[in-house]
């Protein structure tokens, strides 16, 4: 068997094994025998298994692909159509019914940080909200709820949980309902990112045409949402904690392409790093002062041997 044939066999085994039904004792024996035949079998199997598991935390369904399924199934006979309806009810039932239009409270307090700024807000109830660079939040509260709107930027929340007084974070067309939590919310132009450090919370999506959905988040979860899709990902909490380095004024990189490094620095500085051409792919690691882009540029020149050209409001890096 050549590599492609082995891979196909390995994939068949994996899919059958991971099927919730129909996997029997003798299948397990047969798989073990097949794996033992050759390291090539084992490695092909491991490779696919690890890819499959990486997708394991994929919990959300884009409305688009859900529609596609419906269209396909709709062509079939009536009994199947009934099954589809039942499935949709279950999907809809996952989400709590909420009005997802997020009306802004007019009396809300507004807090902003400038580019490069960092601010900690201590709320009366003992909760803390740390604002990262270029961030704007609106905060309002009453006896029943506490609400925070993240208009832009990034916040780290340490919430004093109070079952009598919900804490809700609104960001774009999503909301996060605290169930006793520490987490980070970052809102870029068209995407929202929620990293979970401690506790539990629920991420809720809007009541759009394709129905609502909600996801329970736990420590190590990282959810990334764009307008109509959410992906959930499991990460060691220690790695997620790196994304908190900004609280100490640091940026932490680990084999990060220079293009991404520049984008991170540019969130914190008026003087923008521009990486041109091949140099974008160069991966670097390390801790850097977020607000000291000049030092970084000198390092790029000295250590990485790149060409650095400094202008009034730009630093251009080329190979």
């Amino acid at each position: 068997m050549n590599a492609a044939e082995i891979e196909t066999r390995a994939a068949e085994w994996l899919i059958r094994k991971r099927d919730a039904q129909g996997w029997r004792e003798e299948d397990a024996t047969a798989l073990a025998a097949w794996l033992a035949e050759s390291p090539a079998h084992e490695m092909a199997y491991w490779r696919l298994e690890s890819a499959w598991d990486r997708a394991d935390r994929l919990t959300a369904l884009s409305p688009q692909s859900r529609r596609e399924m419906l269209v396909r199934a709709g062509r079939k006979a009536a009994p199947i159509a009934t099954r589809v309806a039942a499935a949709l009810v279950i999907l809809g039932g996952l989400a709590t019914a909420t009005n997802m239009l997020w009306p802004r409270a007019p009396q809300a307090q507004i807090y902003k940080t400038a580019v490069g700024g960092r601010e900690t807000l201590s709320l009366a109830d003992g909760s803390q909200i740390e604002l990262n660079t270029d961030t704007e939040v609106r905060i309002t509260g009453n006896a029943k709820e506490r609400k925070v709107w993240l208009e832009k930027g990034e916040v780290y929340l340490q919430i004093k949980h109070d079952p009598q007084r919900q804490f809700i974070v609104f960001a774009g067309n999503r909301r996060i309902v605290d169930l006793g939590t520490k987490f980070i919310v970052r809102r870029d132009a068209d995407r929202l990112e929620v990293s979970f450090i401690e506790g539990r919370a629920r991420l809720e999506a809007p009541n759009d045409a394709d129905g609502p959905k909600s996801i329970e988040l736990e420590p190590g979860d990282m959810a990334v949402a764009n307008a109509n899709q959410t992906t959930l990902w499991k990460k060691p909490v220690a790695i997620l904690a790196d994304t908190l380095a900004w609280r100490r004024g640091l940026l932490v990189f680990d084999e990060t392409p220079l293009a991404d490094v520049a984008a991170e620095f540019n969130r914190y500085n008026r003087k923008k790093l521009i990486v041109v051409g091949d140099a974008q792919k160069l991966a670097i690691g390390g801790h850097f002062q977020a607000d000291n882009v000049e030092t970084f540029a000198r390092l790029a020149q000295g250590t990485l041997g790149l060409h650095v050209q400094t202008k009034a409001d730009q630093i251009i890096i080329t190979r």
């Binding site: 084992e42 490779r47 499935a87 991404d260």
Partner: protein
């Protein structure tokens, strides 16, 4: 999710005491150290081999040789060894086929230099990985993606998916099989080089 990781399952043969790393250890090493290098390795093999259909078999051969080494002792560091093995394999093959062109040898030498630079292919930070995962899903052909999502998201069995889509179980199995292969190829082959957000 219907899937549970069976990372620690003992379905492969157990090692005898004192004979180097266990199969579980080799597997963990392979997933952690070797798979993230696959994109670079395949690129390397592709450049050096004129026959595209060879690449998969060459990769398999590299993995086999790595496995033999790892069974004795887990290599550390892994990266230089992977490319040393790949290089030797290509040279062996070129000799055997007696079609060593000067050009090919030159390419091998150039590649030597290139692979010693750090590439954006090792541990990627969480953010980067998430983006890749999302991109990988988007890239799956539609019918594979549907099957994968129904399995992953809704935790449906093959039979349930078949009933829901009104297609044969065998077909669903085929879609899932192709889906997982495509997913692995996207995840391990395509580096998101220079993909600035």
């Amino acid at each position: 999710m219907g899937d549970t990781s069976d990372f620690e399952r003992g379905e492969t043969t157990l090692p005898k005491a004192g004979e180097g790393p266990s199969t579980a250890e080799v597997k963990a090493w392979f997933v952690r150290e070797v798979l993230p290098l696959e994109a670079t390795l395949v690129q390397f093999l592709r450049k050096a081999s004129r026959n595209a259909s060879d690449v998969e078999d060459l990769r398999q051969e590299v993995y086999m040789r790595l496995y033999e080494t790892a069974k004795k002792e887990l290599p550390n560091p892994t990266r230089p060894l992977v490319f040393r093995i790949a290089r030797h394999l290509l040279i062996d093959r070129a000799r055997r086929e007696q079609v060593v062109s000067i050009e090919a040898v030159e390419n091998l030498e150039n590649l030597n230099l290139a692979i010693d630079e750090p590439g954006p292919d090792r541990t990627v930070i969480a953010r980067e990985e998430l983006r890749r995962m999302q991109a990988a899903l988007d890239q799956l052909p539609r019918r594979f993606r549907n099957a994968v999502l129904m399995r992953k998201v809704q935790g449906l069995t093959t039979r349930e998916i078949a009933l829901r889509l009104g297609i044969a179980e065998k077909t669903v199995e085929k879609h899932l099989t192709e889906g997982v292969r495509a997913l692995a190829n996207i995840l391990y082959r395509e580096r998101e080089a220079g993909g600035a957000p």
